[in-house]
């Protein structure tokens, strides 16, 4: 309960950054923070009290495992997050080379 609320506060902090910051790099950092909090939320939901890691070895026949499905999903999400972050960074450095600033309010020359 407390952990869910804290996790959501982390999401809100990331969203606050995305909305109010002017620096492109800070906006990308805010997006990454939101993604981290989502990953954490998935794993928190799948946790079972006194569970063991979902790896079958000797001695784990009677034990309860934590849910392996959210972990498999989050593993995919983490790798995709790296790809999108790299792509956002490429766009940011491209815009910096053209406009010589990271300020999104000065980059307003988008014409159709």
């Amino acid at each position: 309960m407390t952990l869910f609320v804290l996790c959501f506060i982390l999401f809100l902090v990331g969203m606050y950054g995305v909305i109010t910051r002017r620096n492109m790099i800070k906006i990308i950092l805010g997006l990454c923070i939101m993604e981290y909090s989502l990953n954490l939320f998935f794993v928190l939901i799948g946790y079972v009290k006194n569970g063991v890691a979902p790896i079958i070895t000797k001695g784990t026949e009677q034990a309860t495992f934590v849910d392996p499905l959210p972990q498999a999903m989050v593993l995919t999400v983490i790798v995709i997050g790296l790809a999108t972050t790299a792509m956002l960074m490429a766009i940011a450095i491209r815009l910096y080379r053209k406009h010589n600033t990271f300020d999104i309010r000065e980059i307003n020359t988008l014409k159709g």
Binding site: F4, L6, L10, L12, K26, Y47, T57, L75, A92, R94
Partner: protein
């Protein structure tokens, strides 16, 4: 156990708030590292060793990419001050105050609905494995993998992994395209 994770989460929140308010971009990125590495420790506490390993590698690569991007760029923060000083008197900057107000209302509204929806979730530490019951009981025989996460990722949900590989390929092609073509002078 729950208390340790709560402390680490508060550390993550503090780190992310400093990330968004740092004057220097380099220190912002370094304090963003706090968030990622605290997440690695939390994953270890939540019995997810595979996730911890992947998150550690991804975090280091992300930091390297970000530092490489801002290395030859301007590192100053571009934020407006919330107060403007004209002839010795402080005035509130109306535009940034408006942004803060709108964001505050949005955050409080979202937070209210989240707290309202918490009773629909199972409490922390209690979880009924609906779909994963089959995976846990028969995963080792059907896939031959002792690690259930790997078994799900590469066997039961192999098409998801195929889609992930497609997204990675598309992202690499996109990065190459963005960084290669010369832009038009405006």
């Amino acid at each position: 156990m729950e208390a340790i994770i709560a402390v680490l989460l508060i550390l993550m929140i503090a780190g992310s708030i400093y990330t968004l308010h740092a004057r220097d971009l380099l220190s912002a990125i370094v304090s963003y590292g706090i968030v990622g590495f605290a997440l690695v420790i939390i994953f270890l506490f939540l019995k997810a060793p595979d996730l911890a390993i992947v998150q550690l590698v991804v975090e280091i690569i992300t930091l390297i990419i970000m530092i490489a991007v801002i290395r030859n760029s301007s590192k100053e923060d571009l934020q407006e001050r919330t107060t403007v000083k004209v002839e010795g008197v402080h005035y509130i900057n109306l535009r940034s105050a408006l942004y803060l107000l709108v964001t505050g209302i949005l955050c409080i509204g979202l937070f209210y609905y989240f707290v309202k929806s918490i009773p629909g979730l199972e409490p922390f530490g209690v979880h009924t494995t609906r779909m994963a019951t089959t995976y846990i009981e028969q995963g080792a025989e059907l896939t031959g993998s002792a690690n259930l996460v790997t078994g799900i990722l590469f066997d039961f949900r192999g098409y998801d992994t195929l889609g992930e590989a497609t997204i990675l390929l598309t992202a690499v092609i996109g990065i190459l395209t963005i960084l290669r073509i010369k832009g038009k002078k405006v």
